[in-house]
């Protein structure tokens, strides 16, 4: 079936550094999402993105976070600067279009902030 890819699978960085998480969504999908999952807890919505713009973001999407998808390439989540509480698994998802409910998820990027 359709696959969402995420690069890297793991990232370890020092607090205060910048990190960029990359997502390669399903090729004909139009809506993109980032979710955050702390170990043992439920997955939580961060942000959605459509037509080059952020449509909605949650309170977890701090000022240090930003997303973009330049020229239809990777959909990225950038955190600058990182904090200890940013340690989590970040999942990217994409959805085909307005009339399609299913979100397809990538395998996640495990981010560890030291």
């Amino acid at each position: 079936g359709p696959k969402v890819l995420q690069i890297p699978s793991h990232q370890i960085i020092d607090m205060g550094q910048m990190v960029t998480l990359n997502c390669d969504p399903v090729s004909n999908h139009l809506y993109f999402y980032w979710y955050k999952q702390i170990l043992g807890q439920q997955m939580e919505f961060l942000v959605n993105f459509y037509n080059g713009k952020v449509m909605e973001k949650s309170k977890l999407f701090k000022d240090q976070f930003s997303v973009e998808r330049p020229d239809g390439s990777y959909f990225t989540l950038k955190i600058q600067p990182t904090a200890l509480e940013d340690s989590a698994v970040y999942f990217c998802a994409s959805r085909r279009g307005r009339n399609y409910a299913e979100q397809f998820f990538g395998p996640g990027t495990r981010l560890t902030v030291l």
Binding site: Q42, M55, E56, A93, A101, F105
Partner: protein, 111 residues
């Protein structure tokens, strides 16, 4: 039930048994998604039930939805070892373009 302050629930059954997992949600939703997540992987949709449906079947899976009590269930018939995974329900509160996930049920099928 997956909502509330409880931690991730764990459920262990024998292969061949039937199992039902429950989910309650707080805000009106247009659809309830049931996802499974295998260790080290992202969630994968297994069944989706819309607010105008009371029951949906897919192979050994059966989902129900009761909009009056804001609850949904997922049943697996004749569970197999490969059904071992974490199962989440997710809603789109008020029809918003985002998913709100429950805490999940860790289902373990013993051979």
């Amino acid at each position: 039930s997956q909502w509330g302050e409880e931690n991730l629930q764990a459920l262990s059954i024998q292969e061949g048994e039937d199992v039902t997992m429950n989910c309650s949600y707080k805000t009106y939703t247009t659809v309830v998604h049931w996802y499974r997540q295998d260790s080290g992987r992202g969630p994968a949709l297994i069944i989706l039930i819309r607010s105008n449906e009371r029951e949906k079947r897919s192979g050994r899976l059966r989902a129900t939805l009761d909009t009056s009590s804001q609850s949904s269930s997922l049943s697996i018939t004749a569970a197999q070892c490969e059904d071992t995974a974490v199962y989440f329900c997710a809603t789109d509160p008020g029809g918003a373009d985002r998913l709100t996930f429950g805490k999940g049920t860790q289902l373990i099928i013993q051979p």
